[in-house]
């Protein structure tokens, strides 16, 4: 109990020379690229993930949940794609598809020159060294019987990344320092930490693999405001230092936009709008994006009370039974006959700003 108090004071510590060296080393390992010629590291084309809905004693398939339906995007190395959406939008499913946690229904995924969907489970294991995931619940994802050191060394042990106990200890120490935790914590158990500290531990576990790509699935959603800011800042700092690429999945548009270079707005398994983060706020085109921005509260009464308010009716329809035509037509204030019949195509309105809406396409 008393210990906890001192820990709170010694939580944030300066980065040691050792860690600085490690960072330099990692940066050297990253292929040198010019800023103008950013390399495409992940390319997802027409990704589909349908889950069968079964019924009855004999598990008859009576339909499909189209969790992800024809989704395409690209991510350049060192950048972040934010995916934002409400529950049932399929945002987390995309992350799990990229990780190959599911057998995808259709589409292609190219990661760093590798076709992900055709990798065998054994090949995937080595891919997972470069491509890893951090998930929402820091309580469920950390084995309560393992020490922090064991947790961080899980990956490095599988991939034989150290040859002696001393090296292992160094890895743990460096990782803890990198995520802003005291290296003295290495022999403690997860329950001795707060939610924010646990999330730091899961980030350290992911970083210990020396990945180049991290899928961050709602990593700050369960955290308090001040801790959320700490974790977002940590992720951005680590990204800059190590040249990492992220998919950052969340439901809070403000947070997702803050960390992302481009943001994909998802609704019922489809991307509605995909564009550069600042463009998204300055020129939102899709009625759903406009509603999301309007619903996101701004912590400033003058700015907030002066805004135009768009209130959506109803709730997200069930993904088992999505509406005909545009998925958003049941809640859209502009929806007309065409929207209820025909599914809108994704069009580029210029400046890499992609929108799937008949109304935008018409003008």
């Amino acid at each position: 109990m008393i210990d906890k108090k001192t820990d709170a004071y010694s939580l944030e510590i300066g980065v040691s020379d050792e860690v600085k060296e490690l960072i330099d080393e990692r940066i050297e390992q990253q292929p040198k690229v010019e800023k103008s010629a950013r390399r495409e590291i992940l390319r997802v084309d027409n990704l589909k993930m349908y889950f069968p809905v079964t019924k009855g004693l004999f598990k008859r398939t009576v339909g499909y949940v189209k969790a992800v339906d024809d989704v395409s995007f690209r991510i350049n190395q060192g950048e972040t794609l934010g995916i934002v959406g409400e529950s049932g939008s399929g945002k987390s499913t995309i992350g799990n598809c990229v990780m190959r946690n599911y057998k995808i229904t259709g589409g292609h995924m190219m990661f760093d020159g590798l076709e992900l969907e055709s990798q065998t489970p054994k090949q995937m294991r080595s891919v997972h060294k470069k491509l890893t995931m951090v998930t929402q619940d820091p309580y469920a994802s950390l084995d309560p019987r393992k020490t922090v050191s064991d947790i961080i060394l899980e990956g490095p042990t599988i991939h034989k990344m150290y040859s002696s106990k001393g090296e292992a200890r160094d890895i743990v120490g460096q990782m803890l320092e990198l995520v802003g935790l005291n290296p003295k914590f290495a022999e403690r158990f997860p329950h001795e930490f707060s939610g924010g500290q646990r999330q730091r531990i899961s980030i350290a576990r992911a970083l210990a693999l020396e990945p180049s790509f991290i899928v961050c699935d709602e990593i700050v959603s369960a955290l308090d405001v001040s801790i959320q800011a700490q974790i977002v800042s940590l992720m951005m700092k680590v990204q800059q230092e190590l040249g990492l690429t992220y998919i950052f999945i969340g439901h809070d548009l403000s947070v997702v936009r803050h960390i992302s270079n481009q943001v994909a707005v998802m609704y019922l398994g489809k991307i509605m709008e995909l564009t550069d983060s600042d463009e998204l706020y300055n020129r939102p085109m899709h009625p759903y994006t406009q509603a999301l921005i309007s619903a996101a509260p701004i912590p400033n009464p003058t700015a907030d009370r002066a805004r135009e308010r768009i209130l959506l009716d109803g709730e997200v329809p069930s993904p088992i039974n999505p509406p005909k035509g545009c998925n958003f037509c049941t809640r859209c204030r502009f929806a007309d006959e065409r929207c209820r019949q025909e599914e809108p195509e994704m069009i580029d309105v210029g400046n890499h700003h992609l929108v799937a809406c008949h109304r935008v396409a018409g003008n």
Partner: protein
């Protein structure tokens, strides 16, 4: 300002666990006026929920206990009332809605029966009349087909509709005060906006005072007439939202506001973080500023004395020994 209906004075609610004493609300005072929207803001463990649950005397004992203070409702001390008088008050004069609508509704009772309960208890309606009234209440909170919906069970409602049903239930007896404990945290963003609008509309129509307990500063900025920022069981700053968001004086308030990414500003505006973790409330010494261990202005004085709430402006109070410094720094930035 209209007449005060609820005055909480020097409320001390403690929780006793093992050997530790958690001072979840420590010498807390606030006033709620008729028809006003009061927001109590804080992070988890700040004691914000306890400050409201104490009003309805819903603190589970053990481990929690209201140790001291007064809660005056129209001048009458709720803490001195008998259990029967208190039951009479709950749900009729003061009602409450909770964070997680899916667990706050009884899973094996129909929505209609759950709404009827308060109507039958407090307004003495017969079952049939109460059911009719329940349909009207559901209609009022925009639930489609209320005649069929009253017969359904909570699991047949979506999260947003469950919360509306909770609101209908809480508003059924036209309460003078409605306490909403994180009413939208469990809901989707667009549904959050609907539910908050709904609450605000009902409040305006019936002149009910609304106490919103939340960690979401945006919600506060949009709806509140008065804001109390809580940290470590105490109010560290209070005022109207313009005071709090545009002229914050307490280092914690400043830090909290800067820790929220702003959607309306370019991405390049920095995200400032408050270092460290919220304190373990059983470890904060009695006579000290609870925020001292995370505060960059903290001096020996902060660790040895508890800063009192001091007037900044009319209606704007702040509990910090270093207000001048925070202000000087903020002005230098502008």
């Amino acid at each position: 300002m209209s007449e005060p209906i609820l005055e909480v004075r020097h409320l001390k609610t403690y929780f006793f666990r093992d050997d530790a004493v958690m001072r979840a609300s420590d010498d807390l005072s606030y006033t709620v006026h008729k028809g006003e929207c009061v927001a109590i803001v804080g992070e988890s463990g700040s004691g914000k929920s306890v400050s409201a649950l104490s009003v309805l005397r819903l603190i589970p004992y053990p481990p929690g206990l209201v140790m001291d203070g007064e809660i005056l409702f129209h001048g009458q001390d709720l803490l001195k009332m008998s259990d029967e008088e208190m039951q009479e008050l709950r749900g009729s004069k003061i009602s409450m809605i909770f964070q997680e609508p899916s667990t706050a509704l009884n899973p094996v009772m129909t929505i209609g029966n759950q709404i009827c309960e308060s109507l039958m208890i407090h307004r003495g309606l017969k079952k049939k009349e109460a059911m009719k009234e329940a349909v009207e209440l559901l209609r009022k909170v925009n639930i489609p087909n209320p005649e069929q919906r009253v017969k359904q069970y909570p699991f047949e409602f979506s999260g947003g509709m469950q919360q509306r049903a909770m609101i209908a239930m809480a508003m059924s007896c036209d309460p003078e005060i409605l306490i909403a404990d994180e009413p939208t945290t469990a809901l989707d963003v667009t549904v959050q906006a609907q539910v908050l609008e709904q609450l605000n509309k009902l409040r305006a129509e019936s002149d009910t005072a609304l106490i919103i307990i939340t960690h979401n500063l945006g919600v506060v900025a949009r709806y509140a007439d008065s804001v109390k920022v809580m940290y470590g069981g105490k109010i560290v700053e209070e005022g109207n939202p313009y005071d709090i968001f545009e002229n914050p004086h307490h280092p914690y308030t400043i830090g909290l506001i800067n820790a929220v990414p702003r959607l309306d500003l370019p991405r390049s505006h920095g995200l400032h973080t408050i270092e460290g973790e919220p304190p373990d409330m059983s470890l904060i010494p009695v006579n000290c500023c609870a925020f001292a261990h995370r505060c960059r202005y903290a001096t020996a004085e902060c660790r040895e004395n508890r800063p009192p709430l001091e007037k900044v402006n009319e209606g704007h109070y702040c509990a910090c020994f270093h207000m001048d410094e925070t202000q000087a720094e903020r002005e230098a930035l502008v």
